[in-house]
C-alpha cells in the first residue's frame, strides 16, 4: 500500500517533469492545422512528418546541426585535451599549491557567461574571429575548462602516485604516463566530462547568438530561436517543436548511453573501495 502511494507520487513528478517534452514531440508530429486546434488535443489525430520535413527543406536546419556539431565537438575535444594536461600537472604539484589553483578555478567557474558576452565579442572582433567557428570554440573551452579540470583532477587523484613513479622508473615519458596510464584508467571521468561539456556547448545560446550572427553560422539553439513565419505575426510552432525535438533527442540518447559511466563518475570517491 505504502509502496503504491510512493509510486503514484513518483509518477506524478515524472509526468510533471516530462510533460513539456512530451508535448513538444507530439506537437512536432501534428500537421500544421492541428497545432492550433481548440479545444487542445494532446495526441495528434494524424501523425505527419510535415514539420520535420519543412525544417530541413525550407530552412537550412542541417547546416545549423553541422555548425553545432563542429563547435560543440571541437570545444569538447579541445577542453578535454587542455584539462587533462592541466589536471595531470596539478596531480604532480605540491598539495598546497594545487589547492590554491583549484580554488581559483572554482571562482572562475562562478562567473556567469552572460557577463562575458560584450568583452568576448569585442575581443573576437579584434581577432577577426566573429562568424568563425574558432571564435565560438575558444570561449566555450574557457567556460568549461574549470569544471573539466576539476572533474578530471578528482579522477586522477584516485590513482596512486606510485603508478606514475613505477612508470617513470620503467622509462615512460611524462606524456606517455598521461596517455598510456592515467587517461585509460580515468575513462569514466573522461566520458562524463565529455558528455557534460558537449551538452553545455550544444545548448548554449547567448554567446552563439552574439559571436556567429550570420545565418549560415547559426547553431541549433540560435536557429530555433530565429525560426519565423512569413509575417511577424506568425509563429511556426509546428516547425519549432520539430526542431526542438530533433535536437533534444540525440542529447538524451547520449545521456542514456553514458548513464552508467556518468553515475560512476559523479559518485566516484564518495566511498572508499
Amino acid at each position: 500500500m505504502k509502496r503504491a502511494v510512493i509510486y503514484f507520487l513518483l509518477g506524478l513528478v515524472f509526468v510533471y517533469c516530462l510533460f513539456p517534452f512530451l508535448w513538444t514531440i507530439l506537437t512536432a508530429l501534428k500537421p500544421q492545422e492541428e497545432v492550433f486546434k481548440l479545444p487542445i488535443r494532446y495526441l495528434p489525430e494524424r501523425i505527419s512528418l510535415e514539420n520535420l520535413k519543412s525544417v530541413f527543406y525550407k530552412r537550412p536546419f542541417a547546416r545549423y546541426i553541422l555548425n553545432s556539431l563542429l563547435v560543440a565537438g571541437g570545444a569538447t575535444l579541445f577542453t578535454l585535451w587542455a584539462a587533462s594536461l592541466i589536471a595531470f600537472h596539478l596531480r604532480k604539484m605540491e598539495i598546497e599549491r594545487s589547492l590554491k589553483i583549484q580554488r581559483w578555478l572554482l571562482i572562475m567557474a562562478i562567473v556567469p557567461p552572460a557577463l562575458l558576452v560584450i568583452p568576448v565579442f569585442m575581443a573576437m572582433k579584434k581577432l577577426e574571429l566573429v562568424n568563425h567557428y574558432l571564435g565560438l570554440i575558444l570561449p566555450y573551452v574557457a567556460l568549461n575548462l574549470p569544471f573539466a579540470i576539476w572533474m578530471l583532477h578528482a579522477a586522477f587523484r584516485q590513482l596512486p602516485k606510485e603508478l606514475d613513479e613505477a612508470a617513470m622508473l620503467d622509462g615512460f615519458s611524462s606524456l606517455r604516463i598521461l596517455l598510456g596510464i592515467i587517461l585509460p584508467l580515468s575513462r569514466p571521468a573522461l566520458a562524463v566530462a565529455a558528455v557534460l561539456v558537449f551538452i553545455f556547448c550544444w545548448n548554449e545560446f547567448i554567446l552563439a547568438l552574439t559571436l556567429m550572427p550570420s545565418q549560415m553560422r547559426y547553431t541549433v539553439p540560435v536557429g530555433i530561436a530565429m525560426l519565423s513565419g512569413t509575417s511577424v505575426y506568425e509563429i511556426p510552432w509546428g516547425e519549432i517543436n520539430a526542431a526542438v525535438a530533433l535536437t533534444t533527442v540525440p542529447v538524451i540518447l547520449l545521456m542514456g548511453l553514458f548513464q552508467r559511466w556518468i553515475m560512476e563518475g559523479l559518485t566516484r570517491g564518495a566511498v572508499k573501495g
Partner: protein, 356 residues
C-alpha cells in the same frame, strides 16, 4: 651490480617544516643486501626515493656504481623499485606489466618475451601471464611487482616494504624466497622496512634510522649485541628490552627504587638507564645478579614463556624455557656482562672503562 654511495644527503618537505633526512652518509657495497630499518616517519622511504631519483635531495651527492646521478632521471639510473602497494598497471595484463619497461627501452619483442618468460618461470608464475592484476591474490601481485623489477636486470634493487601488504603466512615464505633469490643473483639490494624481524633475518648489513638520521650501521648480529644507542637497543630484538632507571656511582648500579643493585666495571658517574634483554634474564638463580620478584603475568609463546616480574617498582620480562615450575615468587638472574647502560639524557650507550 653496483655500489651505492650517499654523501651528505639532506631533504626536507613543506619548505623545511619537516626534515626527512639530515646529512646522510652511507655506502652500500656491491652485491650486498642492505636493510634500512626504522619506525614510520624516520625517513627511510625518502632515502630510497632519493636513490631512485623520485625525490630530489636539497643537498648532497648520490653515486651509483661510481657515477654521480643527481641530475640523472629515474629511468636512466638503472635501478628498479618494488613499491609497497606494488603499483601494477591495472589495465595491463601481467606479461605487459612485466615487459613494458624493456619495450620502452627499445628491446626487440622476441627478446622481451623470452626474458619475461624466464622471470615468470623463476618466480613460478607461468600460468598468470594473461591475467589482469585485479584477478591475482596479494602474494601473486607481489610477485608480478618483483618480476617487473627483476626482468630489467638493474644494477640496484630498491624495495620499499614489499612484504607489508601480505598476510603473515605468505609473508614468511616470501621472505625466505626473496633472500634466496637475491643471494642467487648477487644483487645489490636496498630494502626498507619497519619490521625488525624481517630486517634481522634478511640482511647482510643493517642501517638503523631515527628522525632522519642514521643511528647505527652494522651486521644484524653485531647491532643486536652492541647497540650504540638506547633507540637501537629498543628497536632491535624480538622482545622489547627491559629498562631500569638508576644511578651509576663508584662502580655500582643502583636502581631508582633501590631494588636492583649490582657491581659494574663502569667508571661513569650519574643517571643511567640499565637495559637487559628478556632472553638474557633467566628464571632461577643461575647467574651472578639475582632478582626476587612477583610474577604478574605469563604469556605463552608455545615453546617458551614470557614472564613478567615485578621487582620493586620495575616490571621486567624474562624469557623462560617454558618447562620450569613457576611460583608466585620467582627469582630471575642475569650476568652483568649482558647488561647495557645508556646515559639517561642522551640515550648514548656507555662502555666499560673510562668514558671520554
Amino acid at each position: 651490480m653496483a655500489e651505492v654511495e650517499l654523501k651528505n644527503i639532506r631533504k626536507s618537505f613543506s619548505r623545511g617544516a619537516f626534515v626527512a633526512l639530515r646529512d646522510i652518509n652511507l655506502r652500500i657495497p656491491e652485491g650486498m643486501f642492505v636493510t634500512v630499518l626504522g619506525p614510520s616517519g624516520c625517513g627511510k622511504t625518502t632515502l630510497l626515493r632519493v636513490v631512485a631519483g623520485l625525490e630530489e635531495p636539497d643537498g648532497g651527492e648520490i653515486f651509483i656504481g661510481g657515477r654521480k646521478v643527481n641530475q640523472v632521471p629515474p629511468s636512466k639510473r638503472n635501478v628498479a623499485m618494488v613499491f609497497q602497494n606494488y603499483a601494477l598497471y591495472p589495465h595491463k595484463k601481467v606479461a605487459d606489466n612485466i615487459g613494458i619497461g624493456m619495450r620502452l627501452r627499445g628491446y626487440p619483442k622476441e627478446e622481451v618475451h623470452r626474458k619475461v618468460e624466464n622471470v615468470a618461470q623463476m618466480l613460478k608464475m607461468d600460468g598468470l601471464m594473461g591475467r589482469y592484476p585485479k584477478q591475482l591474490s596479494g602474494g601473486q601481485q607481489q610477485r608480478v611487482a618483483l618480476a617487473r623489477a627483476l626482468v630489467r636486470e638493474p644494477e640496484v634493487f630498491l624495495l620499499d616494504e614489499p612484504l607489508s601488504n601480505l598476510d603473515a603466512q605468505v609473508r614468511d615464505t616470501t621472505r625466505t624466497e626473496l633472500k634466496k633469490l637475491f643471494k642467487g643473483i648477487k644483487a645489490t639490494v636496498v630494502y626498507v622496512t619497519h619490521d625488525q624481524t624481517e630486517a634481522m633475518m634478511m640482511s647482510d648489513l643493517l642501517v638503523v634510522m631515527q628522525d632522519g638520521a642514521i643511528r647505527q650501521i652494522g651486521a644484524p648480529g653485531s647491532i643486536y649485541r652492541e647497540p650504540v644507542h638506547l633507540f637501537v637497543a629498543q628497536f632491535i630484538g624480538a622482545y622489547r628490552i627491559n629498562l631500569v632507571a638508576g644511578l651509576l656511582t663508584e662502580h655500582r648500579f643502583i636502581s631508582d627504587d633501590q631494588a636492583i643493585t649490582f657491581d659494574v666495571k663502569m667508571d661513569y658517574q650519574g643517571k643511567v638507564l640499565m637495559g637487559i634483554r628478556p632472553e638474557h634474564l633467566n628464571v632461577g638463580a643461575v647467574e651472578e645478579v639475582c632478582l626476587k620478584g612477583e610474577v604478574i603475568l605469563v604469556e605463552s609463546l608455545g615453546g617458551s614463556d614470557l614472564i613478567s616480574l615485578k621487582v620493586g617498582q620495575n616490571e621486567l620480562r624474562a624469557l623462560s624455557g617454558g618447562t620450569g615450575e613457576l611460583h608466585l615468587l620467582t627469582t630471575a638472574s642475569f650476568s652483568p656482562a649482558k647488561a647495557f647502560f645508556f646515559e639517561a639524557k642522551s640515550g648514548v650507550r656507555l662502555r666499560s672503562g673510562p668514558q671520554i
